[in-house]
């Protein structure tokens, strides 16, 4: 019984971690340019296909390839699609991100086909390990550890480095940051590059877990993670991570605690929770200072 509870919790934490990383990538870009980037899902998807491309190479090569592709595509979409729209209405930016997302997704469907493909990335992560007499899947532990490492690294970058400080300033008050000489192009490019890294890592973990690829694979992840950033408080990175985590973990926990007949409707309960949180805290769990200021 206790074993079941611990296994369930580890499961919930690892799925929550995956959504937290996805939400963080979306929250970072929203912070610096008020863009809700649905094309983030295509970064995850392209990472997956890169893993397939390098399937016969050592895993390290595939990982490096995935990182390079995700970061490069993130930077290219920023340069071509989003930079010309900087300062535009958030709705315009949102529509542009849908356009970029569909363009990449449909291009992939045309070139590699929309059929689901199997990929066996790091199969050794599927093994069970025994910790204190409890059997746990190695991948879940790796997901949790990687997430913690990335959160610590990102937090260090934002708090302790010059560019991190500039990024936080730009997220809180873009105009004032510019008035102090913060280069908007550089800050936004760095944010996109980091979002690319986060998307690639989510891609590695997700593909390793699911073992399949399809052009639409990123959409579900990003849609749910976006809900996470909203309940966490749009514009707040801590909020995005917590919100993503809550939504992901709640999905798994509901699967465990709901009566058998209701389990297939678990999303209904997740979104009831979301609605409840937003009713109690319309600004999100951790509202951002920047949005408060921009009344």
């Amino acid at each position: 019984m206790i074993v079941d509870v611990i296994q369930g919790l580890v499961d919930a934490i690892s799925v929550g971690s995956l959504y937290a990383l996805t939400a963080l990538g979306i929250g970072l870009i929203f912070g610096v340019m008020r863009l809700i980037n649905f094309a983030h899902s295509e970064l995850i998807m392209l990472t997956g296909y890169t893993l397939l491309l390098f399937a016969s190479e050592p895993a390290a090569v595939a990982i490096l390839g995935g990182l390079v592709v995700a970061v490069a595509v993130a930077l290219i979409t920023e340069r071509i699609a989003f930079r010309p729209l900087r300062g535009a209405d958030p709705t315009t930016l949102l529509v542009a991100s849908f356009a970029v997302s569909f363009l990449i997704q449909k291009t992939m469907a045309l070139t590699v086909g929309s059929k689901t493909k199997g990929v066996d990335f790091l199969p050794s992560l599927g093994e069970q390990i025994v910790v204190a007499g409890i059997r746990l899947q190695l991948l879940k532990m790796v997901t949790i550890i990687v997430t913690v490492v990335l959160l610590v690294a990102l937090s260090w970058f934002l708090r302790r480095t010059r560019y991190g400080r500039e990024m936080r300033a730009a997220a809180e008050n873009f105009r004032m940051a510019q008035l102090l000489g913060v280069r908007s192009d550089r800050v936004i490019s760095i944010a996109f590059a980091i979002s690319g890294v986060l998307a690639a890592v989510v891609g590695f973990l997700f593909v390793s877990q699911s073992g399949f690829l399809e052009p639409r694979m990123g959409l579900q992840l990003v849609a749910i993670a976006f809900v996470g950033t909203v309940i966490g408080g749009l514009g707040s990175l801590v909020g995005a991570a917590i919100g993503g985590f809550i939504v992901g973990a709640a999905t798994v926990l509901l699967q465990l605690v709901l009566p058998y007949g209701l389990r297939e409707f678990r999303e209904v309960f997740v979104y009831l929770l979301v609605i409840f949180i937003l009713l109690v805290r319309p600004q999100g769990l951790i509202p951002s200072a920047g949005l408060r200021q921009r009344v």
């Binding site: 400080r165 300033a169 008050n173 105009r175 004032m176 008035l179 000489g181 280069r183 200072a289």
Partner: protein, 263 residues
Amino acid sequence: MTFPVAAQRTDKNVQAPSELLLAVDDLHVGYGSITALRGVTLRVHRGEVVAVVGPNGAGKSSLLNSIAGLVRPRQGQIRYAGRALDSLSIENILRSGIALVPEGRHIFGSMTVEENLLLGATIRSDRQAVAADIADLIARFPILRGRWQQPAGRLSGGEQQQLAIARALLCRPALLMLDEPSLGLAPAIIDQVYKILHELHDRGTTILLVEQNATRALEIADHTHVLSAGALRLSGTSAELLSSPQFDAAYFGVTPPEQVPAS
């Protein structure tokens, strides 16, 4: 009283007060169908404090914002140290030596006092000199010392204004522009803020000040312009303006009786 941060630039560069630093000519600024400035011309010489006073909505912020590059003028020219600013980015205008402390202060509330100050030195790469300047500023603004690691959003309005001024000084501007530094502050706090401005003036810092609070501005300014409904109505030294019967009329945008054409 010393002001080391400002001193390092001005001590070396102090020249005859007649040296022209900023020249604004026939400036027209508008937003959509709204016209904010209609043909403003003014001069700021090195070492001077120039004030622009006027009621709410006169176009004062538009003037500073267009000099800082936040707003592109529709017509007219802004020259700084002989160079046209029209095509420069916000960042390059700052790099050329003009800093703006905007209305409402805009400190980064979620960041610490230290981080706010470090952001003021964004365009500088001389880290040791920055550290020395920060040490000087703490001595100058003792209020910030005890709050070093606190989020700046927890400071009071007056403390935030001092932080905003200190932050602007860290980029070592040759021209410091302040938009309504007394806005929303209690009189005792305004005294503190103006004391700092007086010290900066004594050290030779060139200041372009925009104020609704004409009394305060006139006390410090070498030269004052009255801006109303987008145009300069009256200009002169503080003494001249205070003794001018037209001052109130100009401030409130009423045509002075002397200028009403005889019918």
